[in-house]
Symmetry: C2
């Protein structure tokens, strides 16, 4: 390769070494544990799991969403989601309303009680996130977001962006 003194394509690509990548992989592994630790503690008190948290989060995020839409977002099977939704509905945290335009659809909403738990969970998660963001600073956060987005599949990126921009 007839390149400059940095070796490859005129840029310093040392951040792409296997060692750097492995550190990133391990950081991702440990950080995700931290990311879920606080909500997990709250959930275990209530005999719920992460699956319940995810459902609650996205129903809060897109109230009136249909089951199918939620399936797309969560990327699980309907049997799996259904089990979780059933308990949430039985426990009065989620309300399921038959669609007006299309009566096959069920639109999902959080009840007051559901909103209360959502608040509690997301407060816990945001508190840690906020501390991490503050420690790292705004530029680090921008980089953090860029790498995470680049790590998603095309489909997830679409879902993520749609959710971010329109809330649907």
């Amino acid at each position: 390769m007839a390149e400059g003194r940095t070796g490859i394509s005129g840029e310093n690509l040392l951040f792409l070494t296997d060692e750097q990548l492995r550190q990133g992989i391990e950081a991702m592994f440990f950080a995700y544990r931290g990311f879920t630790a606080d909500p997990d503690r709250i959930l275990s008190e209530l005999a719920y799991g992460r699956a319940h948290h995810r459902a609650i989060h996205f129903i809060n995020r897109a109230p009136g969403t249909t089951v199918n839409n939620l399936l797309d977002i969560l990327g699980v099977t309907k049997q799996s989601l259904n089990r979780v939704l059933r308990t949430l509905i039985e426990d009065g945290l989620v309300e399921s309303r038959v669609g007006q335009a299309d009566k096959r659809e069920r639109h999902l909403f959080l009840t007051e009680q559901g909103k209360a738990l959502e608040q509690r969970l997301s407060d816990a998660q945001r508190t840690r996130m906020r501390a991490a963001y503050r420690d790292a600073g705004p530029e680090a956060v921008a980089g953090f977001r860029m790498v995470l987005e680049a790590m998603m599949d095309a489909e997830m990126q679409q879902t993520y962006t749609r959710l971010k921009e329109t809330g649907i």
Copy 2:
């Protein structure tokens, strides 16, 4: 508060709004799916799961590690780890040697076959990671790492750093 025109403590803290935090949370959720997607595909061919991947990764990372040490790193119960280790040993991917100094300890090593699978898994994961890193650029990567580290518990941070620096 008698601060500058940005309102709080002279810095622009718009990156700490709840909306920004929620986007970060969702990015983390979707990115982690991407992060595990490629190894998951390989593992499902072999009737293994993520737990096997984690064990293989860290045994490769710290050959000769004891079960207890691995438990600390992985943050699961020993019974849970043991089941995974047992299948890996039965399948000839991991070797367990009784400790010389302390015969209660078992020291874990990857066999050739185990190393081969580790390579296959980490190649898949690194490929995606490398693409994400390259897309985002070195500064973004530095920020990514900073935020992830700030998101860990103190204990995990210690483990992570120790592993990063000494490999033990």
